[in-house]
Symmetry: C2
Subunit: 306 residues, 2 copies
Protein backbone atom coordinates (compact mmCIF):
# COMPACT_ATOMS: atom_id res chain seq x y z
CA UNK A 1 0.00 0.00 0.00
CA UNK A 2 1.26 3.43 -0.90
CA UNK A 3 -0.10 6.62 0.54
CA UNK A 4 0.24 8.37 -2.81
CA UNK A 5 3.41 10.25 -1.91
CA UNK A 6 6.85 8.65 -2.21
CA UNK A 7 7.28 5.91 0.40
CA UNK A 8 8.65 7.11 3.73
CA UNK A 9 12.04 5.94 4.93
CA UNK A 10 11.78 3.49 7.85
CA UNK A 11 12.72 5.16 11.14
CA UNK A 12 14.95 3.49 13.67
CA UNK A 13 12.93 3.25 16.87
CA UNK A 14 13.97 6.02 19.34
CA UNK A 15 12.69 7.12 22.76
CA UNK A 16 10.68 9.87 21.03
CA UNK A 17 9.02 7.94 18.21
CA UNK A 18 8.52 4.82 20.39
CA UNK A 19 6.54 6.99 22.82
CA UNK A 20 4.48 8.47 19.99
CA UNK A 21 3.80 4.99 18.59
CA UNK A 22 2.89 3.63 22.01
CA UNK A 23 0.29 6.32 22.64
CA UNK A 24 -1.28 6.05 19.20
CA UNK A 25 -1.78 2.28 19.35
CA UNK A 26 -4.30 0.17 21.31
CA UNK A 27 -3.22 -3.27 20.15
CA UNK A 28 0.12 -4.80 19.26
CA UNK A 29 0.00 -7.67 16.78
CA UNK A 30 3.06 -9.87 17.10
CA UNK A 31 4.39 -12.42 14.71
CA UNK A 32 5.91 -15.29 16.75
CA UNK A 33 8.83 -16.97 14.92
CA UNK A 34 11.73 -14.47 14.89
CA UNK A 35 9.87 -12.01 17.15
CA UNK A 36 8.86 -13.95 20.27
CA UNK A 37 11.03 -17.02 19.80
CA UNK A 38 13.35 -18.83 17.44
CA UNK A 39 12.48 -22.51 17.31
CA UNK A 40 11.96 -23.31 20.99
CA UNK A 41 14.09 -20.49 22.40
CA UNK A 42 12.62 -17.22 23.62
CA UNK A 43 14.23 -14.09 22.22
CA UNK A 44 15.86 -11.92 24.93
CA UNK A 45 13.57 -9.78 27.03
CA UNK A 46 10.30 -10.93 25.53
CA UNK A 47 8.37 -11.81 28.74
CA UNK A 48 9.10 -8.46 30.43
CA UNK A 49 8.21 -6.53 27.30
CA UNK A 50 4.86 -8.29 26.92
CA UNK A 51 4.13 -7.80 30.64
CA UNK A 52 4.89 -4.10 30.41
CA UNK A 53 2.58 -3.66 27.39
CA UNK A 54 -0.23 -5.60 29.08
CA UNK A 55 0.19 -3.68 32.32
CA UNK A 56 -0.28 -0.45 30.40
CA UNK A 57 -3.56 -1.66 28.93
CA UNK A 58 -2.44 -2.65 25.46
CA UNK A 59 -4.10 -5.61 23.78
CA UNK A 60 -1.65 -8.30 22.66
CA UNK A 61 -2.48 -10.42 19.65
CA UNK A 62 -0.27 -13.12 18.16
CA UNK A 63 -0.56 -13.65 14.42
CA UNK A 64 1.55 -16.51 13.13
CA UNK A 65 1.89 -18.06 9.70
CA UNK A 66 3.26 -21.27 11.14
CA UNK A 67 0.50 -23.83 10.64
CA UNK A 68 2.12 -26.80 12.38
CA UNK A 69 0.27 -26.04 15.63
CA UNK A 70 -3.35 -25.24 16.42
CA UNK A 71 -4.29 -22.28 18.60
CA UNK A 72 -4.56 -24.66 21.54
CA UNK A 73 -1.08 -26.03 20.89
CA UNK A 74 0.33 -22.51 20.55
CA UNK A 75 -1.18 -21.48 23.89
CA UNK A 76 0.63 -24.47 25.42
CA UNK A 77 3.89 -23.44 23.81
CA UNK A 78 3.56 -19.92 25.23
CA UNK A 79 2.85 -21.33 28.67
CA UNK A 80 5.81 -23.70 28.48
CA UNK A 81 8.00 -20.66 27.77
CA UNK A 82 6.55 -18.86 30.79
CA UNK A 83 4.23 -16.45 28.93
CA UNK A 84 0.51 -16.29 29.71
CA UNK A 85 -1.40 -16.14 26.45
CA UNK A 86 -4.93 -17.42 25.81
CA UNK A 87 -6.08 -19.32 22.74
CA UNK A 88 -8.29 -16.39 21.82
CA UNK A 89 -5.28 -14.11 21.53
CA UNK A 90 -3.69 -16.38 18.91
CA UNK A 91 -4.40 -16.24 15.19
CA UNK A 92 -2.51 -19.00 13.43
CA UNK A 93 -2.69 -19.85 9.75
CA UNK A 94 -3.98 -23.32 10.72
CA UNK A 95 -6.97 -21.59 12.34
CA UNK A 96 -7.28 -19.29 9.32
CA UNK A 97 -7.49 -22.27 6.95
CA UNK A 98 -10.36 -23.79 8.94
CA UNK A 99 -12.10 -20.40 9.21
CA UNK A 100 -11.72 -19.82 5.48
CA UNK A 101 -13.68 -23.02 4.83
CA UNK A 102 -16.26 -22.05 7.48
CA UNK A 103 -16.80 -18.56 6.08
CA UNK A 104 -17.13 -19.95 2.58
CA UNK A 105 -19.71 -22.49 3.73
CA UNK A 106 -17.63 -25.51 2.81
CA UNK A 107 -20.05 -28.48 3.09
CA UNK A 108 -19.20 -30.37 6.30
CA UNK A 109 -19.91 -33.69 4.57
CA UNK A 110 -17.08 -33.03 2.12
CA UNK A 111 -13.52 -33.87 3.16
CA UNK A 112 -10.32 -31.86 3.34
CA UNK A 113 -6.98 -33.33 2.27
CA UNK A 114 -4.06 -31.89 4.23
CA UNK A 115 -0.41 -31.50 3.34
CA UNK A 116 0.70 -30.21 6.70
CA UNK A 117 0.97 -31.12 10.34
CA UNK A 118 -1.24 -31.62 13.42
CA UNK A 119 -2.21 -27.97 13.74
CA UNK A 120 -4.28 -27.91 10.56
CA UNK A 121 -6.06 -31.20 11.34
CA UNK A 122 -6.84 -29.99 14.88
CA UNK A 123 -8.33 -26.73 13.68
CA UNK A 124 -10.34 -28.49 10.96
CA UNK A 125 -11.77 -30.84 13.55
CA UNK A 126 -12.63 -27.99 15.94
CA UNK A 127 -14.44 -26.27 13.07
CA UNK A 128 -16.42 -29.45 12.35
CA UNK A 129 -14.64 -30.60 9.20
CA UNK A 130 -13.26 -34.00 8.24
CA UNK A 131 -9.54 -33.86 7.55
CA UNK A 132 -7.47 -36.51 5.76
CA UNK A 133 -3.76 -36.91 5.20
CA UNK A 134 -1.25 -34.91 7.21
CA UNK A 135 0.91 -36.88 9.66
CA UNK A 136 -1.02 -40.10 8.99
CA UNK A 137 0.26 -40.17 5.40
CA UNK A 138 3.82 -39.29 6.41
CA UNK A 139 5.17 -42.81 6.02
CA UNK A 140 3.11 -43.93 3.04
CA UNK A 141 5.01 -44.96 -0.03
CA UNK A 142 4.05 -45.24 -3.64
CA UNK A 143 5.02 -48.11 -5.91
CA UNK A 144 5.27 -47.05 -9.50
CA UNK A 145 4.45 -50.26 -11.32
CA UNK A 146 2.33 -51.29 -14.30
CA UNK A 147 -1.44 -51.42 -13.77
CA UNK A 148 -1.13 -49.60 -10.47
CA UNK A 149 -3.84 -47.02 -9.95
CA UNK A 150 -3.42 -44.54 -7.09
CA UNK A 151 -6.90 -44.04 -5.68
CA UNK A 152 -8.09 -40.85 -4.06
CA UNK A 153 -11.30 -39.87 -2.30
CA UNK A 154 -13.61 -38.18 -4.82
CA UNK A 155 -15.36 -36.56 -1.88
CA UNK A 156 -12.39 -34.34 -1.07
CA UNK A 157 -13.56 -30.80 -1.79
CA UNK A 158 -10.54 -28.87 -0.53
CA UNK A 159 -6.80 -29.35 -0.21
CA UNK A 160 -5.03 -27.35 2.49
CA UNK A 161 -1.26 -27.02 2.17
CA UNK A 162 1.02 -25.81 4.95
CA UNK A 163 4.48 -26.55 6.27
CA UNK A 164 5.01 -30.32 6.33
CA UNK A 165 8.27 -31.82 7.51
CA UNK A 166 6.91 -35.21 6.44
CA UNK A 167 6.22 -34.18 2.87
CA UNK A 168 6.44 -37.12 0.47
CA UNK A 169 5.47 -38.23 -3.02
CA UNK A 170 2.34 -40.00 -1.75
CA UNK A 171 0.93 -36.75 -0.36
CA UNK A 172 1.95 -34.79 -3.43
CA UNK A 173 0.14 -37.24 -5.70
CA UNK A 174 -2.92 -37.30 -3.43
CA UNK A 175 -3.24 -33.52 -3.33
CA UNK A 176 -2.52 -33.23 -7.05
CA UNK A 177 -5.22 -35.75 -8.01
CA UNK A 178 -7.82 -34.03 -5.78
CA UNK A 179 -7.08 -30.59 -7.22
CA UNK A 180 -6.89 -31.79 -10.83
CA UNK A 181 -9.73 -34.30 -10.82
CA UNK A 182 -12.32 -33.44 -8.16
CA UNK A 183 -14.66 -30.83 -9.66
CA UNK A 184 -14.46 -27.51 -7.82
CA UNK A 185 -11.84 -28.72 -5.35
CA UNK A 186 -10.36 -25.73 -3.48
CA UNK A 187 -6.60 -25.25 -3.14
CA UNK A 188 -5.91 -23.36 0.09
CA UNK A 189 -2.41 -22.39 1.28
CA UNK A 190 -1.84 -21.51 4.91
CA UNK A 191 0.97 -19.19 3.78
CA UNK A 192 3.87 -18.97 1.37
CA UNK A 193 6.86 -18.25 3.65
CA UNK A 194 9.96 -19.51 1.85
CA UNK A 195 11.81 -20.50 5.02
CA UNK A 196 11.37 -20.27 8.77
CA UNK A 197 13.27 -20.86 12.02
CA UNK A 198 11.93 -24.35 12.66
CA UNK A 199 14.95 -24.67 14.95
CA UNK A 200 16.78 -21.95 16.83
CA UNK A 201 20.03 -22.34 14.93
CA UNK A 202 18.91 -22.22 11.33
CA UNK A 203 16.21 -21.72 8.76
CA UNK A 204 14.33 -24.54 7.08
CA UNK A 205 12.03 -24.76 4.06
CA UNK A 206 8.66 -23.22 4.96
CA UNK A 207 5.13 -23.70 3.71
CA UNK A 208 6.12 -21.78 0.58
CA UNK A 209 8.13 -24.85 -0.41
CA UNK A 210 5.21 -27.31 -0.13
CA UNK A 211 2.76 -24.84 -1.67
CA UNK A 212 5.09 -24.27 -4.62
CA UNK A 213 5.41 -28.04 -5.12
CA UNK A 214 1.63 -28.36 -5.44
CA UNK A 215 1.51 -25.33 -7.75
CA UNK A 216 4.23 -27.07 -9.78
CA UNK A 217 2.26 -30.28 -10.24
CA UNK A 218 -1.21 -28.75 -10.65
CA UNK A 219 -0.25 -25.52 -12.39
CA UNK A 220 -2.84 -23.80 -10.23
CA UNK A 221 -2.45 -20.95 -7.78
CA UNK A 222 -3.75 -21.28 -4.20
CA UNK A 223 -5.95 -19.09 -2.07
CA UNK A 224 -3.59 -17.87 0.67
CA UNK A 225 -5.16 -17.35 4.11
CA UNK A 226 -2.09 -16.42 6.19
CA UNK A 227 -0.06 -13.22 6.02
CA UNK A 228 0.23 -11.12 3.89
CA UNK A 229 -3.40 -11.92 2.95
CA UNK A 230 -5.68 -9.97 5.27
CA UNK A 231 -8.13 -12.84 5.70
CA UNK A 232 -7.29 -13.20 9.43
CA UNK A 233 -7.86 -9.49 9.97
CA UNK A 234 -11.64 -9.93 9.66
CA UNK A 235 -11.64 -12.18 12.71
CA UNK A 236 -9.39 -9.84 14.62
CA UNK A 237 -11.60 -6.88 13.87
CA UNK A 238 -14.77 -8.71 14.88
CA UNK A 239 -13.23 -9.80 18.14
CA UNK A 240 -11.40 -6.69 19.23
CA UNK A 241 -13.39 -3.81 17.73
CA UNK A 242 -10.23 -1.75 17.31
CA UNK A 243 -9.57 0.30 14.19
CA UNK A 244 -6.62 -1.05 12.22
CA UNK A 245 -5.07 2.42 12.33
CA UNK A 246 -4.73 1.88 16.12
CA UNK A 247 -2.99 -1.47 15.68
CA UNK A 248 0.74 -1.99 15.20
CA UNK A 249 1.95 -5.09 13.38
CA UNK A 250 5.33 -6.21 14.73
CA UNK A 251 7.18 -8.77 12.65
CA UNK A 252 10.50 -9.94 11.30
CA UNK A 253 9.49 -10.46 7.67
CA UNK A 254 8.92 -7.83 5.05
CA UNK A 255 6.92 -9.90 2.57
CA UNK A 256 4.52 -11.37 5.12
CA UNK A 257 4.35 -9.39 8.40
CA UNK A 258 5.08 -5.89 7.21
CA UNK A 259 3.10 -6.29 4.01
CA UNK A 260 0.19 -7.73 6.02
CA UNK A 261 0.30 -4.73 8.38
CA UNK A 262 0.44 -2.27 5.51
CA UNK A 263 -2.28 -4.07 3.52
CA UNK A 264 -4.56 -3.91 6.57
CA UNK A 265 -3.85 -0.25 7.33
CA UNK A 266 -1.90 -0.94 10.55
CA UNK A 267 1.18 0.81 11.87
CA UNK A 268 4.26 -1.37 11.25
CA UNK A 269 7.41 -2.21 13.19
CA UNK A 270 10.12 -4.49 11.79
CA UNK A 271 12.36 -6.30 14.27
CA UNK A 272 15.74 -7.59 13.14
CA UNK A 273 15.69 -10.62 15.48
CA UNK A 274 14.44 -12.96 12.75
CA UNK A 275 15.04 -13.42 9.04
CA UNK A 276 15.48 -9.81 7.87
CA UNK A 277 18.76 -7.94 8.19
CA UNK A 278 19.14 -4.18 8.15
CA UNK A 279 20.92 -4.39 4.80
CA UNK A 280 17.98 -6.33 3.28
CA UNK A 281 15.62 -3.69 4.66
CA UNK A 282 17.68 -0.87 3.20
CA UNK A 283 18.51 -2.56 -0.10
CA UNK A 284 17.32 -0.37 -2.98
CA UNK A 285 15.43 -3.33 -4.48
CA UNK A 286 13.24 -3.67 -1.36
CA UNK A 287 9.99 -1.79 -1.70
CA UNK A 288 8.22 -3.12 1.41
CA UNK A 289 9.00 -0.47 3.98
CA UNK A 290 7.87 -0.57 7.63
CA UNK A 291 7.22 2.66 9.48
CA UNK A 292 9.76 1.73 12.18
CA UNK A 293 12.48 -0.81 12.74
CA UNK A 294 14.47 -1.97 15.75
CA UNK A 295 16.61 -4.93 16.77
CA UNK A 296 14.11 -6.80 18.99
CA UNK A 297 10.86 -6.19 20.81
CA UNK A 298 12.52 -5.65 24.20
CA UNK A 299 13.88 -2.40 22.75
CA UNK A 300 10.34 -1.13 23.44
CA UNK A 301 10.93 -1.84 27.12
CA UNK A 302 14.26 -0.03 27.10
CA UNK A 303 12.94 2.95 25.17
CA UNK A 304 9.63 3.33 27.03
CA UNK A 305 10.72 2.28 30.51
CA UNK A 306 9.08 -0.42 32.64
Amino acid sequence: MNDGASPSIPQLLSPQNATDLFHSVDAFLFDCDGVIWKGDKLIDGVPHTLEMLRSKGKKLIFVTNNSTKSRRQYAKKFHSLGIAVTEEEIFSSSFAAAMFLKVNEFPPEKKVYVIGEEGILDELELAGFIGLGGPEDGKKMVHLKPNYLFEHDKNVGAVVVGLDQYINYYKLQYATLCIRENPGCLFVATNRDAVGHMTDLQEWPGAGCMVAAVCGSTQKEPIVVGKPSTFMMDFLLKKYQISTSRMCMVGDRLDTDILFGKNAGCRTLLVLSGVTTQSTLQDPTNDILPEYFTSKISDLLNLLGP
Copy 2:
Protein backbone atom coordinates in the same frame (compact mmCIF):
# COMPACT_ATOMS: atom_id res chain seq x y z
CA MET B 1 9.07 -18.99 -32.56
CA ASN B 2 6.91 -17.10 -34.97
CA ASP B 3 7.63 -16.77 -38.64
CA GLY B 4 6.36 -13.19 -38.66
CA ALA B 5 2.96 -14.01 -40.16
CA SER B 6 0.03 -15.14 -38.05
CA PRO B 7 0.63 -18.63 -36.62
CA SER B 8 -0.52 -21.46 -38.88
CA ILE B 9 -3.32 -23.76 -37.83
CA PRO B 10 -2.05 -27.27 -36.96
CA GLN B 11 -2.87 -29.75 -39.73
CA LEU B 12 -4.25 -33.17 -39.01
CA LEU B 13 -1.78 -35.64 -40.50
CA SER B 14 -3.04 -36.98 -43.87
CA PRO B 15 -1.57 -39.28 -46.55
CA GLN B 16 -0.53 -36.18 -48.51
CA ASN B 17 1.09 -34.05 -45.82
CA ALA B 18 2.62 -37.12 -44.08
CA THR B 19 4.38 -37.94 -47.35
CA ASP B 20 5.59 -34.36 -47.74
CA LEU B 21 6.84 -34.33 -44.15
CA PHE B 22 8.55 -37.71 -44.57
CA HIS B 23 10.51 -36.57 -47.62
CA SER B 24 11.58 -33.26 -46.13
CA VAL B 25 12.96 -34.77 -42.91
CA ASP B 26 16.16 -36.75 -42.25
CA ALA B 27 15.76 -37.34 -38.52
CA PHE B 28 12.78 -37.95 -36.30
CA LEU B 29 13.20 -36.85 -32.68
CA PHE B 30 10.82 -38.73 -30.41
CA ASP B 31 9.78 -37.92 -26.91
CA CYS B 32 9.30 -41.22 -25.02
CA ASP B 33 6.61 -40.96 -22.30
CA GLY B 34 3.25 -40.61 -24.05
CA VAL B 35 4.79 -41.20 -27.49
CA ILE B 36 6.67 -44.51 -27.31
CA TRP B 37 5.24 -45.81 -24.03
CA LYS B 38 3.07 -44.97 -21.06
CA GLY B 39 4.75 -46.13 -17.87
CA ASP B 40 5.99 -49.58 -18.85
CA LYS B 41 3.50 -50.22 -21.65
CA LEU B 42 4.33 -49.67 -25.29
CA ILE B 43 1.85 -47.56 -27.23
CA ASP B 44 0.18 -49.48 -30.09
CA GLY B 45 2.17 -49.96 -33.25
CA VAL B 46 5.38 -48.32 -32.05
CA PRO B 47 7.92 -51.05 -32.96
CA HIS B 48 6.71 -51.39 -36.56
CA THR B 49 6.62 -47.65 -37.05
CA LEU B 50 10.18 -47.23 -35.83
CA GLU B 51 11.36 -50.18 -37.98
CA MET B 52 9.70 -48.68 -41.05
CA LEU B 53 11.37 -45.28 -40.49
CA ARG B 54 14.77 -46.88 -39.90
CA SER B 55 14.39 -49.10 -42.95
CA LYS B 56 13.79 -46.00 -45.06
CA GLY B 57 17.01 -44.42 -43.83
CA LYS B 58 15.66 -41.99 -41.28
CA LYS B 59 17.71 -41.28 -38.16
CA LEU B 60 15.81 -41.94 -34.93
CA ILE B 61 16.64 -39.91 -31.84
CA PHE B 62 14.95 -40.17 -28.47
CA VAL B 63 14.80 -36.99 -26.43
CA THR B 64 13.25 -37.48 -23.00
CA ASN B 65 12.79 -35.13 -20.08
CA ASN B 66 12.42 -38.00 -17.66
CA SER B 67 15.60 -37.93 -15.58
CA THR B 68 15.01 -41.02 -13.47
CA LYS B 69 17.10 -43.16 -15.82
CA SER B 70 20.50 -42.70 -17.41
CA ARG B 71 21.03 -43.24 -21.12
CA ARG B 72 22.30 -46.74 -20.35
CA GLN B 73 19.17 -47.52 -18.34
CA TYR B 74 16.94 -46.15 -21.08
CA ALA B 75 18.63 -48.36 -23.69
CA LYS B 76 17.83 -51.33 -21.44
CA LYS B 77 14.20 -50.25 -21.15
CA PHE B 78 13.92 -50.03 -24.95
CA HIS B 79 15.44 -53.49 -25.30
CA SER B 80 13.11 -54.95 -22.68
CA LEU B 81 10.20 -53.62 -24.74
CA GLY B 82 11.63 -55.21 -27.86
CA ILE B 83 13.00 -52.09 -29.54
CA ALA B 84 16.64 -51.84 -30.58
CA VAL B 85 17.97 -48.44 -29.58
CA THR B 86 21.55 -47.56 -28.68
CA GLU B 87 22.66 -45.32 -25.83
CA GLU B 88 23.96 -42.82 -28.36
CA GLU B 89 20.48 -42.37 -29.81
CA ILE B 90 19.10 -41.32 -26.42
CA PHE B 91 19.20 -37.80 -25.04
CA SER B 92 17.77 -37.77 -21.52
CA SER B 93 17.60 -34.80 -19.19
CA SER B 94 19.80 -36.73 -16.73
CA PHE B 95 22.51 -36.78 -19.42
CA ALA B 96 21.82 -33.12 -20.19
CA ALA B 97 22.36 -32.16 -16.53
CA ALA B 98 25.78 -33.86 -16.49
CA MET B 99 26.69 -32.33 -19.86
CA PHE B 100 25.64 -28.88 -18.69
CA LEU B 101 28.19 -29.12 -15.87
CA LYS B 102 30.83 -30.47 -18.28
CA VAL B 103 30.32 -27.72 -20.85
CA ASN B 104 30.43 -25.09 -18.13
CA GLU B 105 33.68 -26.52 -16.75
CA PHE B 106 32.26 -27.41 -13.36
CA PRO B 107 35.31 -28.25 -11.22
CA PRO B 108 35.43 -32.06 -10.81
CA GLU B 109 36.63 -31.68 -7.22
CA LYS B 110 33.39 -29.91 -6.31
CA LYS B 111 30.32 -32.00 -5.48
CA VAL B 112 26.81 -32.10 -6.88
CA TYR B 113 23.79 -32.53 -4.60
CA VAL B 114 20.93 -34.38 -6.30
CA ILE B 115 17.20 -34.29 -5.70
CA GLY B 116 16.33 -37.01 -8.16
CA GLU B 117 16.84 -40.67 -8.90
CA GLU B 118 19.53 -43.07 -10.13
CA GLY B 119 19.66 -41.67 -13.66
CA ILE B 120 21.15 -38.36 -12.63
CA LEU B 121 23.74 -39.93 -10.32
CA ASP B 122 24.74 -42.41 -13.06
CA GLU B 123 25.22 -39.69 -15.64
CA LEU B 124 27.16 -37.51 -13.19
CA GLU B 125 29.49 -40.41 -12.45
CA LEU B 126 29.98 -41.20 -16.14
CA ALA B 127 30.90 -37.55 -16.69
CA GLY B 128 33.45 -37.70 -13.86
CA PHE B 129 31.54 -35.79 -11.20
CA ILE B 130 30.86 -36.64 -7.54
CA GLY B 131 27.14 -36.83 -6.82
CA LEU B 132 25.53 -36.78 -3.38
CA GLY B 133 21.95 -37.31 -2.23
CA GLY B 134 19.37 -38.89 -4.52
CA PRO B 135 18.12 -42.35 -3.52
CA GLU B 136 20.65 -42.58 -0.66
CA ASP B 137 18.89 -39.73 1.17
CA GLY B 138 15.42 -41.10 0.48
CA LYS B 139 14.90 -42.49 3.97
CA LYS B 140 16.70 -39.82 5.96
CA MET B 141 14.64 -37.96 8.51
CA VAL B 142 15.10 -34.63 10.20
CA HIS B 143 14.50 -33.98 13.86
CA LEU B 144 13.47 -30.44 14.52
CA LYS B 145 14.73 -29.91 18.05
CA PRO B 146 16.56 -27.18 19.95
CA ASN B 147 20.30 -26.83 19.28
CA TYR B 148 20.06 -29.11 16.25
CA LEU B 149 22.13 -27.91 13.34
CA PHE B 150 21.58 -29.54 9.95
CA GLU B 151 25.03 -29.77 8.38
CA HIS B 152 25.66 -29.64 4.65
CA ASP B 153 28.78 -30.07 2.56
CA LYS B 154 30.22 -26.63 1.81
CA ASN B 155 31.97 -28.18 -1.17
CA VAL B 156 28.71 -28.71 -3.06
CA GLY B 157 28.90 -26.38 -6.05
CA ALA B 158 25.74 -27.44 -7.86
CA VAL B 159 22.31 -28.79 -7.01
CA VAL B 160 20.55 -30.81 -9.71
CA VAL B 161 16.79 -31.27 -9.30
CA GLY B 162 14.73 -33.78 -11.25
CA LEU B 163 11.77 -36.06 -10.67
CA ASP B 164 12.15 -37.74 -7.28
CA GLN B 165 9.53 -40.14 -5.98
CA TYR B 166 11.50 -40.23 -2.70
CA ILE B 167 11.37 -36.50 -2.15
CA ASN B 168 11.50 -35.59 1.55
CA TYR B 169 12.18 -32.70 3.90
CA TYR B 170 15.78 -33.81 4.44
CA LYS B 171 16.58 -33.41 0.74
CA LEU B 172 14.68 -30.14 0.49
CA GLN B 173 16.67 -28.68 3.41
CA TYR B 174 19.96 -30.01 2.02
CA ALA B 175 19.39 -28.51 -1.43
CA THR B 176 18.08 -25.27 0.04
CA LEU B 177 21.12 -24.80 2.30
CA CYS B 178 23.55 -25.47 -0.58
CA ILE B 179 21.83 -23.00 -2.89
CA ARG B 180 21.38 -20.34 -0.23
CA GLU B 181 24.70 -20.66 1.57
CA ASN B 182 27.39 -22.07 -0.74
CA PRO B 183 28.81 -19.15 -2.74
CA GLY B 184 28.11 -19.50 -6.47
CA CYS B 185 26.24 -22.80 -6.08
CA LEU B 186 24.39 -23.61 -9.33
CA PHE B 187 20.71 -24.61 -9.34
CA VAL B 188 20.09 -26.88 -12.33
CA ALA B 189 16.68 -28.36 -13.19
CA THR B 190 16.48 -31.37 -15.48
CA ASN B 191 13.05 -30.10 -16.63
CA ARG B 192 9.86 -28.56 -15.32
CA ASP B 193 7.15 -30.99 -16.52
CA ALA B 194 4.20 -30.62 -14.14
CA VAL B 195 3.13 -34.26 -14.40
CA GLY B 196 4.05 -37.39 -16.31
CA HIS B 197 2.84 -40.95 -16.94
CA MET B 198 5.04 -42.60 -14.31
CA THR B 199 2.55 -45.48 -14.58
CA ASP B 200 0.43 -46.48 -17.54
CA LEU B 201 -2.90 -45.71 -15.88
CA GLN B 202 -2.38 -42.20 -14.60
CA GLU B 203 -0.26 -39.10 -14.30
CA TRP B 204 1.95 -38.30 -11.33
CA PRO B 205 3.77 -35.16 -10.17
CA GLY B 206 6.77 -34.55 -12.42
CA ALA B 207 10.11 -32.81 -11.97
CA GLY B 208 8.24 -29.51 -12.15
CA CYS B 209 6.88 -30.32 -8.71
CA MET B 210 10.30 -30.86 -7.08
CA VAL B 211 11.85 -27.95 -8.96
CA ALA B 212 9.03 -25.64 -7.82
CA ALA B 213 9.54 -26.78 -4.22
CA VAL B 214 13.20 -25.73 -4.36
CA CYS B 215 12.26 -22.45 -6.06
CA GLY B 216 9.77 -21.97 -3.22
CA SER B 217 12.33 -22.39 -0.46
CA THR B 218 15.25 -20.60 -2.15
CA GLN B 219 13.33 -17.99 -4.12
CA LYS B 220 15.73 -18.63 -6.96
CA GLU B 221 15.03 -19.76 -10.51
CA PRO B 222 16.90 -22.75 -11.97
CA ILE B 223 18.82 -23.27 -15.17
CA VAL B 224 16.68 -25.76 -17.13
CA VAL B 225 18.58 -28.22 -19.32
CA GLY B 226 15.71 -30.41 -20.61
CA LYS B 227 12.99 -29.48 -23.08
CA PRO B 228 11.90 -26.83 -23.96
CA SER B 229 15.42 -25.47 -23.37
CA THR B 230 17.51 -26.20 -26.46
CA PHE B 231 20.58 -27.16 -24.46
CA MET B 232 20.43 -30.79 -25.64
CA MET B 233 20.17 -29.68 -29.27
CA ASP B 234 23.85 -28.68 -29.32
CA PHE B 235 24.84 -32.29 -28.65
CA LEU B 236 22.42 -33.57 -31.21
CA LEU B 237 23.72 -31.22 -33.85
CA LYS B 238 27.34 -32.10 -33.14
CA LYS B 239 26.60 -35.79 -33.34
CA TYR B 240 24.29 -35.96 -36.33
CA GLN B 241 25.29 -33.02 -38.51
CA ILE B 242 21.73 -32.56 -39.70
CA SER B 243 20.15 -29.15 -40.05
CA THR B 244 17.34 -28.63 -37.56
CA SER B 245 15.05 -27.71 -40.46
CA ARG B 246 15.41 -31.35 -41.57
CA MET B 247 14.46 -32.71 -38.15
CA CYS B 248 10.94 -33.37 -36.93
CA MET B 249 10.23 -33.27 -33.20
CA VAL B 250 7.44 -35.70 -32.29
CA GLY B 251 5.94 -35.30 -28.83
CA ASP B 252 2.82 -35.35 -26.71
CA ARG B 253 3.39 -32.09 -24.81
CA LEU B 254 2.94 -28.61 -26.11
CA ASP B 255 4.97 -26.73 -23.49
CA THR B 256 8.00 -29.02 -23.66
CA ASP B 257 8.17 -31.12 -26.85
CA ILE B 258 6.49 -28.84 -29.35
CA LEU B 259 8.00 -25.69 -27.89
CA PHE B 260 11.43 -27.37 -27.92
CA GLY B 261 10.97 -28.30 -31.59
CA LYS B 262 9.85 -24.81 -32.51
CA ASN B 263 12.58 -23.12 -30.46
CA ALA B 264 15.18 -25.23 -32.26
CA GLY B 265 13.75 -24.62 -35.72
CA CYS B 266 12.53 -28.21 -36.23
CA ARG B 267 9.34 -29.41 -37.88
CA THR B 268 6.82 -30.43 -35.24
CA LEU B 269 4.27 -33.23 -34.87
CA LEU B 270 2.01 -33.53 -31.83
CA VAL B 271 0.64 -36.97 -30.95
CA LEU B 272 -2.49 -37.27 -28.83
CA SER B 273 -1.39 -40.53 -27.17
CA GLY B 274 -0.04 -38.76 -24.08
CA VAL B 275 -1.03 -35.78 -21.96
CA THR B 276 -2.47 -33.42 -24.60
CA THR B 277 -6.02 -33.72 -25.90
CA GLN B 278 -7.28 -32.28 -29.18
CA SER B 279 -9.44 -29.80 -27.26
CA THR B 280 -6.38 -28.54 -25.32
CA LEU B 281 -4.53 -28.17 -28.60
CA GLN B 282 -7.39 -26.25 -30.18
CA ASP B 283 -8.28 -24.18 -27.10
CA PRO B 284 -8.08 -20.48 -28.01
CA THR B 285 -5.78 -19.86 -24.99
CA ASN B 286 -3.15 -22.26 -26.37
CA ASP B 287 -0.51 -20.46 -28.38
CA ILE B 288 1.96 -23.33 -28.82
CA LEU B 289 0.97 -24.74 -32.17
CA PRO B 290 2.62 -27.74 -33.84
CA GLU B 291 2.76 -27.97 -37.61
CA TYR B 292 0.93 -31.33 -37.57
CA PHE B 293 -1.00 -33.46 -35.15
CA THR B 294 -2.18 -37.07 -35.14
CA SER B 295 -3.41 -39.64 -32.64
CA LYS B 296 -0.23 -41.77 -32.31
CA ILE B 297 3.02 -42.39 -34.15
CA SER B 298 1.79 -45.57 -35.85
CA ASP B 299 -0.48 -43.31 -37.90
CA LEU B 300 2.72 -42.60 -39.86
CA LEU B 301 2.87 -46.29 -40.74
CA ASN B 302 -0.75 -46.33 -41.83
CA LEU B 303 -0.47 -43.13 -43.84
CA LEU B 304 2.89 -43.85 -45.49
CA GLY B 305 2.58 -47.60 -45.87
CA PRO B 306 5.13 -50.21 -44.71
